[in-house]
């Protein structure tokens, strides 16, 4: 039954480009999909280990920049007096470099900031994002600064001489993003149901207790940060090769906020949460734009929504809906009213 629903959903998602003729709608769906991947990666940290990465856009942007630079090739002084020249590489290799590089930076950030607990991780990540933005803005020789990296090649896959697939058009990109999203989803599901995932949940619930039963807390946290950063880097690489231009604005804080809101509103620590939240907050700007609402007001609405969600749906939409559904099924005669979710249904 449950498997059937999943297959139906997937079939629906895969069929979208077949009947959706409006390319703008497809574009919105692609960008939303990329952000959902990023939000899923954030959920791994925020939802399952309880650590808020407030600079997640740094990993996203690093993935985008590294992948674009490797694909375009560059010539720059990586250290004073050390000129490095790189010929353009195939895009799939470039994307892999972006993912690895983002993962490595996540590892370093985790190593440094998990020496102590509490607010430090949040503060380190938020200022890390700011510094990466400054580097992208000021290291003009490498990143072109505010002039941006242009003409980033789209992904091409295939066997030379036999066939080639170019991800230039929107339907192709839609399928690419969908496949990466499904793979990320399955990866996260495997991970949180594995030994490492149980360790993450254990330390989120009670760190000293998890420690006492032999969970190497710092190691698990660093591992989670690394995987999450690599996944955000993958989303960034997808983004770069889809829109084909990257400038320092990819590091804007507001994108991190979008990811956090997607996770919180959808339901942190649930697999479906970031998807539901991502769909809502990925499509909401388009609705607000259609209503001719100024972008500042839109962000004010986001901020207020975030506060309201914390007050009224502290576990997010998915657990609340699940709890409501469960109560409805258990007491159909009583006519259960929607209300706050039960703690058991939340996880």
């Amino acid at each position: 039954m449950k498997r059937g629903a999943t297959i139906a959903w997937l079939a629906f998602l895969f069929s979208v480009p077949l009947w959706m003729g409006d390319l703008y709608v497809l574009h919105v769906l692609i960008v939303t999909g990329i952000f959902i991947i990023a939000a899923m990666s954030l959920n791994l940290l925020l939802g399952y280990t309880g650590q808020l990465s407030l600079g997640h856009v740094a990993f996203f942007g690093i993935g985008a920049y590294v992948s674009s630079l490797v694909a375009l090739g560059f010539e720059a002084h990586l250290l004073p007096g050390w000129l490095v020249r790189l010929e353009p590489k195939p895009v799939w290799l470039a994307m892999l470099c972006g993912i690895v590089f983002a993962g490595l930076s996540g590892w370093v950030i985790g190593k440094v900031s998990f020496k102590v607990r509490g607010a430090y991780f949040v503060i380190v990540t938020v200022s890390f994002a700011e510094v990466v933005r400054l580097v992208a803005l000021n290291w003009v020789e490498l990143t072109q600064g505010p002039m941006a990296l242009n003409n980033i090649p789209p992904l091409r896959l295939g066997i030379p001489g036999l066939f080639e697939l170019s991800f230039l058009r929107k339907p192709a990109n839609y399928y690419l993003v969908l496949v990466v999203a499904v793979v990320s989803y399955m990866l996260i599901r495997r991970l949180v149901n594995s030994r490492a995932g149980r360790a993450m949940i254990a330390l989120r619930e009670n760190e000293p207790l998890a420690n006492s039963v032999g969970v190497d807390v710092t190691r698990v946290l660093v591992l989670a940060t690394m995987i999450s950063a690599a996944m955000a880097g993958a989303a960034g690489a997808l983004y770069a090769h889809y829109v084909r231009i990257v400038d320092p604005d990819v590091f804007l804080f507001i994108y991190t906020v979008t990811m956090v809101i997607m996770v919180i509103a959808g339901g942190k620590g649930t697999l479906a949460g970031p998807i539901v939240g991502g769909l809502i907050f990925g499509l909401l700007p388009e609705v607000l734009r259609a209503l001719q609402i100024a972008p500042e007001v839109q962000w004010v609405v986001y901020g207020v929504l975030m506060i309201l969600v914390v007050y009224f749906l502290p576990d997010g939409i998915v657990p609340a809906a699940r709890g409501w559904w469960q109560r409805r099924r258990e007491a159909p005669a009583a006519g259960a009213a929607p209300g706050s979710p039960t703690p058991e249904a939340a996880r």
Partner: protein
Amino acid sequence: MDQLLQHGLNALILGGTYALLGIGLTLIFGIMRVVNFTHGELYSFGAYMMFMWVMFAGVNFFLALVLAVVLGVALGAAIEFLLLRRLRGADIDTTMLVMIGAWIALQNAEQFAWSGVAKSIDNPFPSSPLVLGPVSVSWNRLFVFVVALVLIAGSYALINRTRLGKAMRATFQDRETASLMGVEIGFIHTATFALGSGLAAAAGALLGPVFVVYPTMGDLASLKAFAIVILGGLGSIPGATIGGFILAFMEELGAGYVSSGFRDGMGFLLIILILLVKPTGLFAQKERIG
């Protein structure tokens, strides 16, 4: 050598306002256990209030400064009363999310109200700088420094010499016991948040006329305040004061001798260094949080 002296003087003057920012943030964290992401917004609120009173209403510069700080205190009290009061006892992540939401809402409301264009504020000081041997300083910056020092001294006096300050320190040490001794915790929280917000607004109102005023100016202020507070140890007021000056010196020397583009990255460098070398901060008083 002259250049070094000039950088030193600039850093000293900047350090005063950084210390104000840091003290406000560390007070709020120490007493309320709230990671205050609206701190930078209070800073830009102070600057915008200065802009409004001086450039729109034509109020006297010094009166406008007082008004900006008073309004900052009022806004801080309102945030505490409306948003944080009902979250007392909630875990640190929950309040953090609420503060992030408030940050986004405040910043974009500011952008909507004043547009994204950077604004400058006239000041009544003579435009020729005060020359002291090899170095020079503008009268406006000198004024900023003096007021910052007065406010820092005032905060110390308030915390160490008054009844309210004693209640704050008691709450900092042990909330439950302080409550049992008849300290009104709710009032202390409002007062703390209002005081910290007032200090941030004062820093913004002082620096607004020196630099320009723009909606996202608070983000950097927040980041710097966090760096200062981590440097000094979360919750330590002397740590925040000294941390403010250390960060100002690092930025000024980094901008002067390394690259001015990375001036604002110094705070991050400082955080990383501190976390690597002495994660508890230079002046930690209590156990770590979390």
